[in-house]
Symmetry: C2
Subunit: 673 residues, 2 copies
């Protein structure tokens, strides 16, 4: 026996072998708890787990949660679903980090109660009641005050000289169950072996409409180069369009060495302004503003006006340098040199990007580099910026981003980071997991019904939705998709409706978008002709073909319909036409249901029958319900699951319906809510 | 900057921020590495992971593995598949525990090589070759002897005054790649943050045919109660049937208090032998043998004869007591008392099992209880037993099993534990994960084509196959399924073929099975009439309807066909008849392919067309191939994917084919292998 005794000493299992409950397959749990699930203030965290024990005993379980900086845990009960799956939930109330775990225990009182209800032998019942009395007495010892007294009284009555059936009823009473649940015996409870993190953001992290534009292209008549001041005058227009976020490409001094000319020409003329992403010149680097745009004070005035109009300013974080960046002289150790002593520019052979110099993150001086880059973000936060769109994060180490985002958010939990990684799936997911608040997606390249359905279902229904918040862009300064090049105004309209209603966060690069700019540099290219990346443009915002009115209406619809404020309720519905895509979003209480039908064919009228899950949407299959088109104001009466739709792309390629249930009929009128 | 500096000190990420490779989603990895994957000696462990880094650099990765008791790691390279998924594998050579992990690194030479092949600017190529020469020189410094000299020579030639193209060819040469791969720069490699376990068993853990029988029912003519000696005489018969394991229900003294009579009667007569699972009487407990069966010496002689015949003996571990068990007096603290002072018998209200007393695993003296139960297993190992079938493990704590199995296997890695848990899915899986070598399944209740296809696909293709090794039983002393009760001899035949060919491990409870015992205690019950659990039976092994010959042939087919020795290759094939099920198993090299077709209808001839994936099976769709029925010896020529099958249940309800490819045609003869 001494061998076995020694073995037991070595046993590294649960410290008390009597803890019989098992907790496994906890969700959400991202990479074994290595990464946090994401929520915004006011949302629920629904926690599920497989919880069971040996034998037939009944279990109880709770979710334990707290703010990560709190010492006390709060608990909320879990309920069994099927097949040993349990569920509980808690609401996150403030921004910052939360954490949660699970506790479960074999509950002898619940087992006693369950068995007692099934016993048929009077002698057994009498013995069982004596056992139960003991359990209730123990609970009384754990309780205090009135509860203790009441429990003690019940324990005595359970074994009193009274008829059996009355005592059994007392043992099975709801009142005793409530008391016993309030004072359970948790001495042998099992704690889940991990504490799991949640990052809680402000609501903008989940629900946002972005507008990207180049300040230098806002020049007044007669001026060559726009400024923060001229850009400031553009803000009321953007506010009227209903956006939440104005995002500016880099606003820093632009390098002159190897500066690109118009249409990405290798040579530039003296008037070419260069790419804003070639950051750094003798006028300064990442903490400076381009003199042509104005001063830091002008930038702050721009931000103040944005705030006044209800807009937030998002800055571009592009951690790369022009060959003229001050860092190259002040910190040569942060860059790689070629054998000929020249600085190593960016390249992806045979392509060269000689106007850009990447940081060498394998530098021996990486710590100082990380700190300096973090200080860039802190600098702009100090100017009042709370949102950053990060350029090509997938070309800098994942460990750096994880560190810098967690550091910044620890001090400023309100900061939002949008990851501009158009890369492979695993890479994009890793960036989202390690901390980016929102992520660009493949939406721009998903244009058919099958592509949209598959991809958006993945984004909104798969486990990755716990950490990957999509932000859909129909265009960017880098991407003018073929669908827009050849589909004309209807294509822009349908892509706009899709982006704005499929995802709670979306954005456009304007005014190119609303002005239906669809000229590519050359056939087969996704680059814009006369791209603003390399030259100043002038836009006629008053052009009659502008989509400004549609955009303003869509953004108002988004604000007014809470169903569109989140992504998880997205469901696609069958339409018997491959060119028509139909989907809905809804609030949990079904109080707000938005149904969208989009014609993906920008050239022809398409029609078909939509098939709706009426019961799931809370609709009475036997009665008509009203579809109110929020874009046109038109109202339609639909009956049952199957209804007809036709969409002419040249009038409006989409319906955005609010679904209204009939609530009452009085005389000749139907009322819908 | 001091704030950021402090932040960097607090950073708990990778100790060196320059380690850029990321390793995630490693498979196999069971519950975050909490449990081991299972293999048998000689098998491969195929390890996959998502491996990637920022940017465009090339990566290299290795699987690192070792015996858990070894200090040195062995490494084997991983290769990229698609979408950043990598795969490597290693073979486990000895029984015991192994462990593995992954290392990956950004390989500058591979990046250099990849880029060099794509460069088109001669000046760039020259500069790149100088960079490459530096990398090769560094490798020379890491290498020794001839490799070092050769690398140094190559480094010099790369920058020698020679034509560019020749130097580029040298840089891209296979020889240099081999040398550089042998001496990589791993100074900034990433190690996966977990070391993952594998339990390696002997082959019997994966491939086994079990025969369960009651020794007491082997009495010679004129005797009332069989003995180890009479059971020993039964062994040659079992060996002729081709089984590997003979499994005996408990062989211990049987309690008298509340002993059950024939057909589970509450009262027993003086001649009723009682249930072998009511363990313990004044003659002894779990470490004693029932005097009616003989002595411990007789048992050892039984085991010796089994060994001589190539059979292993499996004992039943049933950790429960009769009310007469010596433990109840020697260790009263291990049992629960009722308020009236009586011992708490087993119950599941309203059902009572008064002949059985469970251990109280919540006893304060649980440590001594665990140790004593472990010593029971050790006792029987000392008698030569190496396989245990564990009765109802799901009614004892999971932590106990995890401890006792790991303790026993640490000292005796050859021991096999079969879990007899007919319980909920999560419970059965947990037992398999925590250490049981094999598991009973729901096979007994899966009788239709849909049920069989779904369930066996789950068992053999889902991730749980890493730890859950199924053992299929068409019957047990507790379960006589309706399908057998009403399907007659053809039902027994088809269930036998299914069990023996769907899974590498299967078992029958005989002689009830081969003698087609199908009388249930009452309609709707799965209990046998006159069950051997409560009475001694006498079996006529020579009965003409015995399935002994079919069993012997099936077990020979199993042994001769390595495709049937494991489960992971199982694939179901379409048949246009719901009563016909068709599936195949194959060796990795396709050298052995077994194709099975079973008629699930025990009453009528069923026919249909089988659809085979001929290319996947290595067959030439344009040429005939031979199907050799290993049960009847008949040979059929099939052509292409779709072929006709008809099965008469009254002749043979199944084909077990060896698929033979045509290898050559000489004159009039086709040769098939």
């Amino acid at each position: 026996m001494s061998t076995a005794g020694a073995a037991l000493d070595r046993w590294r299992g649960p410290p008390d072998g009597r803890r019989r409950a098992v907790i496994e397959s906890v969700r959400p749990e991202i990479d074994c708890g290595r990464f946090a699930a994401k929520r915004v203030v006011g949302e629920w965290v629904v926690v599920e787990a497989d919880i069971f024990a040996d034998g037939h005993d009944r279990l109880a379980a709770v979710v334990r949660y707290r703010r990560a900086d709190a010492s006390e845990w709060t608990e909320t009960p879990m309920e069994p679903l099927v097949n040993d799956r349990w569920r509980g939930r808690f609401r996150v109330e403030t921004i910052g980090r939360y954490e949660y775990t699970i506790a479960a225990w074999v509950d002898r009182f619940l087992s006693f109660r369950h068995d007692l209800a099934r016993r048929d032998d009077p002698q057994d019942i009498a013995v069982a009641l004596a056992v139960g009395a003991g359990l209730v007495e123990d609970a009384a010892a754990r309780a205090q005050g009135e509860d203790a007294a009441e429990l003690l009284a019940i324990a005595r009555r359970l074994v009193a000289d009274e008829p059996l059936e009355g005592r059994r009823e007392l043992a099975l009473s709801e009142r005793l169950l409530v008391l016993m649940r309030a004072h359970p015996d948790r001495s042998l409870e099992t704690r889940y072996d991990k504490v799991l993190p949640v990052v809680v953001d402000r609501e903008r992290a989940r629900f946002s409409a972005w507008y990207e534009f180049f300040p230098r292209s806002t020049a007044d008549e007669g001026e060559r180069h726009g400024t923060f001041e001229s850009a400031r005058k553009r803000l009321p227009y953007i506010a009227r369009l209903g956006f939440d976020v104005v995002y500016l490409p880099p606003i820093h001094p632009i390098g002159r060495t190897k500066r690109k000319g118009a249409n990405n020409a290798l040579a530039s003329g003296p008037d070419d302004p260069g790419s804003p992403w070639a950051i750094g010149a003798e006028e300064g680097g990442h903490k400076d503003v381009h003199p042509a745009l104005g001063t830091l004070e002008d930038f702050r005035a721009f931000c103040a006006e944005a705030r006044r109009l209800g807009l937030e300013v998002a800055l571009d974080i592009a951690f790369q340098c022009s060959p003229d960046h001050p860092y190259i002289r002040s910190h040569p150790q942060w860059f790689r040199r070629r054998p000929d002593g020249s600085i190593q520019y960016a390249e992806n052979p045979p392509k060269k990007y000689e106007d850009i110099v990447p940081f060498d993150f394998e530098s021996d001086d990486w710590r100082a580099l990380w700190q300096e880059l973090e200080s860039v973000i802190e600098f702009w936060i100090a100017q009042g910026v709370e949102i950053f769109r990060v350029d090509n994060p997938h070309t800098k180490p994942f460990a750096f981003w994880e560190w810098v985002i967690s550091e910044v958010k620890r001090r400023h939990p309100e900061i939002i980071f949008l990851s501009e990684a158009f890369s492979r799936p695993r890479v994009m997911h890793r960036l989202a997991k390690l901390g980016f608040t929102q992520s660009y997606t493949y939406f721009t390249w998903r244009n058919t019904k099958h592509e949209l359905t598959t991809y958006l279902t993945e984004l909104t229904a798969h486990e990755s939705r716990e950490y990957f918040r999509p932000n859909l862009w129909p265009n960017t300064p880098d991407i003018l998709h073929e669908y827009l090049q050849y589909g004309g105004r209807p294509a822009f309209m349908s892509r706009l409706v899709l982006a704005a209603t499929l995802a709670a966060s979306y954005g456009i690069y304007g005014p190119a978008f609303e002005l239906v700019e669809n000229r590519a540099r050359e056939p087969g290219s996704e680059e814009y002709l006369d791209s603003e990346k390399y030259q100043v443009r002038r836009w006629d915002l008053e052009a009659p073909h502008s989509l400004a009115e549609l955009i303003a209406r869509l953004n108002r619809v988004r604000r007014e319909n809470p169903a569109l404020h989140s992504d998880w309720s997205l469901r696609f519905h069958d339409v018997d036409n491959e060119q028509l895509v139909c989907y809905s979003k809804r609030t949990e209480d079904l109080g707000n249901i938005v149904l969208v039908v989009v014609n993906l064919d920008p050239h022809h009228v398409q029609s078909g029958h939509v098939e709706l899950p009426v019961a799931e949407l809370g609709l009475d299959a036997a009665k008509p319900y009203q579809l109110h088109d929020l874009l046109t104001g038109a109202r339609y009466l639909w009956h049952g699951a199957r209804n007809y739709v036709a969409l002419d792309p040249h009038r409006s390629p989409a319906h955005v319906f609010r679904v209204r249930r009939r609530v009452a009929t009085e005389r000749d009128f139907d009322y819908f809510m």
